[in-house]
């Protein structure tokens, strides 16, 4: 057992912050992804262009740049918006909110492609059959189409979540006290950077392993009732 010089508790606090950040970004990102997929299939052309532009931009610029842009850019934009309303003080998003929004934007950009593919893979006949049975549009979406698309989208979304969890480390750059930031503090006090960054790496590996087994369980659950895996 390595000597963490009493910083174990701080690192665990950081771990908790990382988990909260990842789950918040996941929740917002899933909504963005669904909205993006819906926009891509929209009958209105400008909506489709907007969704296309969103995914192209997100896939073309670094996550770190998105984090920095949201954190520093939002404060400038919010102040510009607030000035006509008579407020001249300093406004900024907290690192947590800015980080969650930035990571959610990234996740959502990739997830909308995953959802689009998944919704296309659900046979139209399924929705038509539900309509013929007299189900409403909302009921059809939530009870027929979404559960089937979910099964197809899950592996892709799982990969994206693993990427998202590793990207949470980037939010340490704007000062959120998650695993990396806590490790930096510990490094400053003990002058043992290798020990603490390795401890951080172990925490991330642990998160990856736990998420992977959770995802495997969710995939098994989503696939119950499906024929067993065909030969590849």
């Amino acid at each position: 057992m390595p000597d963490l010089s009493g910083f174990e508790h701080q690192l665990l606090l950081g771990l908790w912050m990382t988990i909260r950040l990842a789950l918040t970004a996941l929740a917002i990102g899933l909504v963005l992804g669904l909205a993006g997929a819906a926009a891509m299939a929209a009958p209105v052309a400008p909506l489709r262009w907007l969704a296309r532009a969103y995914t192209t931009i997100i896939r073309g610029i670094p996550e770190l740049l998105v984090v920095l842009l949201i954190y520093f850019g939002s404060s400038v934009l919010l102040m510009r918006l607030a000035r006509p309303l008579g407020y001249t003080g300093y406004i900024e998003l907290s690192p947590f909110v800015a980080g969650a929004v930035a990571l959610a934007l990234t996740f959502g950009g990739y997830a909308s492609e995953v959802f689009r593919g998944a919704f296309q893979a659900v046979p139209v006949g399924q929705a038509e059959a539900a309509q013929a049975l007299g189900m409403g549009r909302i009921a059809i979406f939530f009870r027929i189409v979404l559960p089937q698309a979910w099964r197809i989208a899950l592996p892709g979304l799982g990969n994206l979540f693993l990427v998202l969890m590793k990207d949470t480390a980037l939010v340490s750059v704007i000062g959120l006290e998650e695993i990396m930031r806590k490790a930096q503090f510990a490094t400053g006090a003990t002058k043992e950077p290798f020990t603490f960054y390795l401890a951080a790496a172990v925490l991330y590996l642990g998160l990856t392993i736990v998420s992977m087994s959770l995802l495997a369980w969710m995939e098994r659950r989503a696939n119950r009732g499906m024929p067993r895996a065909r030969a590849s």
Partner: protein, 242 residues
Amino acid sequence: MNIDVMIAALPKLLEGAWLSLQLLFISGFFGLMIAVPLSIARSSPRLAVKALPYAYIFFFRGTPLLVQLFLVYYGLSQFAFVRESPILWPVLKEPYWCAIITFSLHTGGYIAEILRGAIQAVPVGEVEAARALGMRRSTTLARIVLPRAARIALPAYGNELILMLKGSALASTVTLLDLTGMARTIIARNYMPVETFLMAGVIYMTITFVLVRGLRFIEHRTSAHMRGRPTGPDTAPPESIA
């Protein structure tokens, strides 16, 4: 939005973009060098041979690039033998080399996993045919399996290059003035984060666009024998882990 600010920042940002491209291509090259032996060992049916590459790939794909970069740049200096070594220290005290070493090791892990999939996707019949013609295992590997696997892996390797371009932005966290680092120093002077970061974003998008086009061209040139089959890096999933 202030267009003048964006244009004024352009020369410096392009200077930064040049460093980003250096980091990308040098680590892309070394990453490939690391990945080839790793993927061959990883495809082995023997546990003793594949255990180490498996652990390597798992570590580099399971932890954030930022942690890996800090482990190399800040972490290794914890050890006295590194600081006192006349060979290691001149290299490891330079953020430039630390970034290149980390990015190469990182992308090497990802490319190895891509190559492993490609090696396993080479039709068994082709390997058997080579063996039947009397080729030795090493010859079969060099002349049949690896060239075939290289073509199969190409689209995914292209995706990995683009992910690495985006990852190279982390070089700015170890004081390097790559495209992102340059943008951050410009902002420290002009206080125009939105304009400057957007301009940097535009340059990243342009590089991505050129990379995607270039890769598509190479894919087209190397698929003359199977024309008609749809190819293209943008149809593949963005990133996958185990």
